[in-house]
């Protein structure tokens, strides 16, 4: 962001400012081990670009859970019978997601979004391989649409621990060129991880760019394989966030800037999408001694 800039008078920037809206659960259904939740959230879908996320209040008005839960947007529908909706995929990890996985249609939900930096798209038609782990694949489907709109070939590689934790296999098969699937337990597709399968898929599809979303160890491994083929790779990271809007400083990870300096960057506003080779994967969870402002 330009220092001292103001979005006032800049229609594009204004349109991209996040909004806070009182939404409502429109529908919820089970998809494998996950819950797909559709929320009316006027204004958010209109601003959304693939890779961005929303931050939700959980637990209702008397909740003792104060912090927002952030979810990658699976699908955003700007215009429709319900004035704009977003869909998210919820996996249960704790009390907040447990509550969300049980919401009923009509439940009010306070939604902030769209948040974060989106995926950057190739300037010219490019073969893109989209790699998803578990429900981390959710944001890849709106990305695929945006890529196809730019005449990019889109192929998928989806992986998970087991078949019920795969997300979007059928949709990928309906819409994409090649779709490869793998599971850790071999319950469907090739046994092993997406990183194991990635060399074959890069060679088979001839992809020139890789996009990945899923757990941090997977992102690290996928990016390393992409790099070994000399392919650019963007990843959407998962870090624990309290606010999602850039004020709490909890979701940081060491990222090398354009100037070569490592900073503890916020995954909510500087990410969640990063170039894989900018993230110092060995040092995630630490403050590297050469990071700007590290205590020497």
């Amino acid at each position: 962001m330009t220092v001292g800039s103001s979005v006032q008078g800049d229609p594009v920037a204004e349109r991209r400012e996040p909004v806070q809206v009182r939404g409502e659960v429109l529908a919820r259904r089970r998809v494998g081990a996950y819950q797909l939740v559709e929320i009316t959230a006027g204004g958010i879908a209109e601003r959304f670009r693939p890779g961005q996320f929303v931050a939700l209040s959980v637990g209702g008005p008397a909740s003792a859970l104060l912090l927002r839960r952030s979810f990658a947007v699976y699908r955003a529908t700007p215009v429709g019978a319900f004035s704009g909706t977003v869909q998210i995929v919820v996996g249960v990890h704790g009390r907040g997601t447990e509550w969300l996985a049980g919401v009923r249609p009509g439940e009010p939900l306070d939604v902030v979004g769209p948040l974060g930096r989106p995926f950057r798209l190739p300037a010219a038609p490019t073969g893109c391989l989209l790699v998803g782990g578990g429900y981390g694949s959710a944001p890849l489907f709106s990305l695929a649409e945006a890529l196809r709109a730019r005449e990019c070939r889109v192929d998928f590689l989806l992986g998970a621990g087991s078949q019920d934790r795969l997300f979007g296999e059928l949709e990928a098969k309906r819409t994409a060129g090649a779709v490869a699937v793998c599971t850790d337990d071999g319950s469907v597709g090739r046994p092993g991880t997406v990183a194991d399968a990635l060399p074959d898929e890069i060679e088979r599809t001839g992809a020139a760019a890789v996009y990945a979303c899923g757990p941090m160890p997977m992102l690290r491994a996928v990016g390393a394989v992409a790099a070994s083929y000399g392919l650019p790779c963007q990843v959407a990271v998962e870090e624990s966030m309290a606010c999602g809007i850039g004020v709490c400083m909890t979701c940081v990870l060491p990222v090398v800037g354009e100037d070569g300096v490592t900073r503890m960057s916020r995954s909510c506003v500087d990410g969640p999408v990063f170039e894989h080779d900018r993230v110092r994967w060995d040092d995630v969870g630490t403050v590297p001694a050469d990071a700007l402002g590290a205590i020497s």
Partner: protein, 351 residues
């Protein structure tokens, strides 16, 4: 409540800083204001209390830096900030351009560092007050927490006060993790602090039952949120009772207008909304509206009249609150209003 109430004068004087309203952000919970702008325009806030700035950039502590706790959270950010040069070059000018008032929080490792920081920020635009963070629990050594020692605290405050123009108030931000907060408060006031920010987070710990190790990378962290509000409120109460002429910026777990009202009644001239912003980025604006309504409903013409009102002697009622009545029961409301002449009715009120 749908009670229409008299407009309340919300201007407040925080130790000499005249603010359009008493609702501020809290240091470390709003960065330098810019990220809140889409949700809570900075010009509408009493002031933006910026995240503590240090002389040099600070990378902070390793992750995980946050653990959610019942009605609260633990953080160990470790004062991550870009350093005073970047802060003065980027953050304060932005606040000035957007018609915000800035309460600049400074944090140092020595008296000399605090003094140097004060010198650097003294001429800055938008500066309406300085908050001296002598109570961050997330420093490498708990021994550096000046607010745990009245003498150390007073040295820092005297050094900062000497560097800041007299028209700009200096606030000392104190820790609740002390045996006698009044003693620390008195030492700061005697050393020249114009006011006090009460309180910083309390030191806490969460252990992950699966890994059986502390959750936070920094092991311990600062507890904030509604969980600490009664503690914060008690500190405001005790200090206001002992030092009624020392203005207080109240902070700790405020998430509604009625929470803010409690701090004002306990003796705060203004309040900061902190952790609530993480869950609701527009919380400061909402708290302000709710506080104004709450004051009006209780018959206060100005927020200034409510400061410390909970300390009044038994039997003394400067304003008489109306009895609780269900909304939409006009007969009961008008009867109550008629029986209590000190309950001010707005001209536009129609029961």
């Amino acid at each position: 409540m749908t009670l229409a109430t008299h407009p309340v004068k919300m201007t407040t004087d925080l130790a000499g800083a005249v603010l359009p309203n008493p609702v501020l952000t809290a240091s470390g919970c709003a960065a330098a204001g810019r990220e809140l702008q889409p949700f809570a325009p900075v010009s509408t806030l009493g002031a933006v209390v910026t995240k503590s700035v240090t002389l040099r950039p600070r990378a902070g502590r390793p992750t995980p830096r946050m653990a959610e706790t019942p009605s609260g959270m633990l953080n160990s950010i470790g004062l991550q900030n870009p350093g005073v040069d970047a802060f003065l070059a980027h953050d304060l000018p932005w606040l000035a351009e957007h018609d915000a008032r800035a309460v600049v929080s400074i944090a140092g490792g020595s008296v000399a560092e605090y003094a140097e920081l004060a010198r650097r920020i003294a001429p800055a635009p938008a500066l309406v007050a300085v908050e001296v963070n002598i109570s961050c629990p997330n420093v490498e050594s708990r021994g550096e927490v000046f607010a745990c020692d009245p003498l150390a605290a007073s040295r820092v405050l005297a050094a900062v006060r000497a560097e800041i123009p007299a028209v700009v108030p200096v606030l000392a931000k104190l820790s609740p993790d002390v045996t006698d907060i009044v003693a620390v408060a008195r030492a700061c006031a005697d050393a020249g602090a114009d006011g006090l920010t009460l309180v910083n987070t309390m030191l806490g710990l969460v252990i992950d039952p699966d890994t059986m190790r502390p959750v936070l990378g920094g092991v311990t962290g600062g507890l904030s949120g509604p969980a600490i509000m009664p503690v914060a409120l008690r500190c405001v109460w005790q200090v206001h009772a002992a030092l009624p002429s020392v203005p207080i910026l109240g902070v700790g777990g405020i998430r509604t207008g009625l929470d803010a009202l409690q701090f004002v009644l306990a003796g705060a001239s203004a309040i900061s909304v902190g952790t609530a912003v993480f869950g609701d980025p527009s919380a400061p604006v909402r708290v302000l509206a709710e506080l104004e309504t709450a004051l009006g409903e209780r018959g206060f013409a100005a927020v200034a009249d409510a400061i410390g009102y909970a300390h009044r002697d038994a039997g003394v009622e400067l304003v008489v609150p109306p009895p609780p009545a269900p909304a939409g029961d006009p007969a009961r409301l008008s009867a109550a209003a008629g029986a209590r002449p000190s309950w001010r009715l707005g001209e536009e009120d129609v029961w």
